[in-house]
């Protein structure tokens, strides 16, 4: 059942319980409600990520409790923690192994811009090696902030032009 999502979808019953809608609306609805995160839990933000997955701030309400540590089976990479130059190689390789469509969430100050670590060993933001869709600030961000970030990601997904991208490899 597809409800009217903004101006994309519309619901009109033609004979025999058939619903007509835009392909984009259906595809985006399916994608955004089952984002399987790949937790790149590097430092303290990983603990808040685990707390979001636990029972108080249930991430399962959004369909995201399936934290697959395998990049091939996940949709969204949540970079939680400080990315050092030594680790950047692993982050990029794992990002490359993920299948399209994929998104990246930079959780926390260290992943967004390097945080309070202005030093020789810390990469000043993970967006130097992977393209980031949502930045979540905080040190560490509260689980509510992480959930807010994931909801913004869901909004971003719902605005995508998925049909055009279906037959073209995503960059």
């Amino acid at each position: 059942m597809v409800t009217t999502t903004r101006e994309y979808g519309y619901n009109s019953k033609i004979e025999g319980e058939v619903i007509v809608s835009k392909v984009d609306a259906v595809i985006n609805w399916v994608r955004k409600n089952s984002v399987w995160p790949m937790p790149m839990g590097l430092a303290c933000c990983a603990i808040e990520l685990m707390a979001t997955g636990a029972s108080r701030f249930d991430i399962s309400r959004f369909g995201m409790e399936v934290m697959r540590f395998s990049p091939r089976q996940s949709d969204c990479m949540i970079v939680a923690g400080t990315v050092t130059y030594k680790m950047a190689e692993a982050v990029r390789r794992i990002y490359d192994q993920m299948a399209a469509p994929k998104w990246v969430v930079a959780m926390g100050a260290c992943a967004s811009t390097g945080g309070m670590y202005r030093s020789y060993a810390v990469m000043q933001g993970v967006d130097r090696v992977v393209p980031v869709d949502v930045y979540i600030s905080g040190c560490p961000p509260r689980p509510e902030a992480l959930l807010d970030g994931m909801m913004r990601l869901q909004e971003k997904i719902s605005r995508e032009q998925s049909f055009k991208g279906l037959f073209k490899a995503k960059e």
């Binding site: 130059y85 030594k86 990029r92 202005r118 000043q124």
Partner: protein, 209 residues
């Protein structure tokens, strides 16, 4: 045995051992050629059975420049002992390794080599442990800036794909910190001018004096 007696005995047994001034635990200086013997004696006869830490200090302008500091703990006596050993050569600092006495010294000595460049003679596997292989600087030396020096990423293919480099962290005029000094003009915080931002270079004229 009280701590004073311990230091006196050690000074008598080894001619290069001298008392080191300290605020908390007994501390001694020893020269590099008697270090291993002293450590063995401490472990076997004086019940300093645990090696807690191996580290080094870079004194920058003083000579000798590098000092390797060991902290031993004796569970029976209930106190620590600090042993300081100066590295003889300032340009290519070296120190003897005590891996054969304590297995735990392996990683500690690797870290000191990684951060300061002090080579430990007799270490089975002296390679970098915290920075990546192939990093050409020793970060904790005083002339190395906190922001770092620009080099290439350790993985060549990732560097090519993403055009990312190891950059000097943008500091907008360098870390601002104070130095010890009796007068406020010396002690107030000032920028060390290590790096600016990536997009904007350092501004030309300094308006305030």
């Amino acid at each position: 045995m009280p701590r004073e007696t311990l230091i006196k005995e050690l000074c008598l047994k080894f001619d290069s051992v001298q008392r080191r001034s300290n605020l908390d635990w007994p501390a001694i200086n020893v020269s590099a050629h008697q270090l291993v013997e002293l450590c063995k004696k401490l472990r076997d006869e004086y019940a300093f059975d645990m090696l807690m830490d191996v580290t080094a200090v870079d004194w920058e302008k003083e000579r000798p420049r590098f000092t390797v500091i060991y902290h031993f703990l004796s569970r029976e006596r209930g106190h620590y002992l600090r042993v300081a050993c100066n590295c003889e050569n300032d340009d290519v600092p070296e120190a003897p390794s005590i891996v054969h006495l304590w297995g735990g010294a392996n990683w500690h000595e690797r870290e000191v080599y990684d951060m300061f460049g002090i080579k430990f003679i007799g270490h089975p596997n002296l390679k970098r442990i915290l920075m990546w292989e192939g990093y050409s600087y020793y970060p904790l030396r005083k002339e190395f800036p906190l922001a770092g020096i620009e080099t290439s990423l350790p993985a060549a293919d990732v560097a090519e794909e993403t055009q990312a480099k190891v950059i000097a962290a943008p500091m907008m005029g360098g870390p601002f910190c104070s130095k010890p000094g009796p007068y406020m003009s010396e002690a107030e915080p000032e920028g060390k001018d290590e790096s600016w931002t990536e997009k904007q270079p350092k501004p030309e004229a300094e308006v305030n004096e």
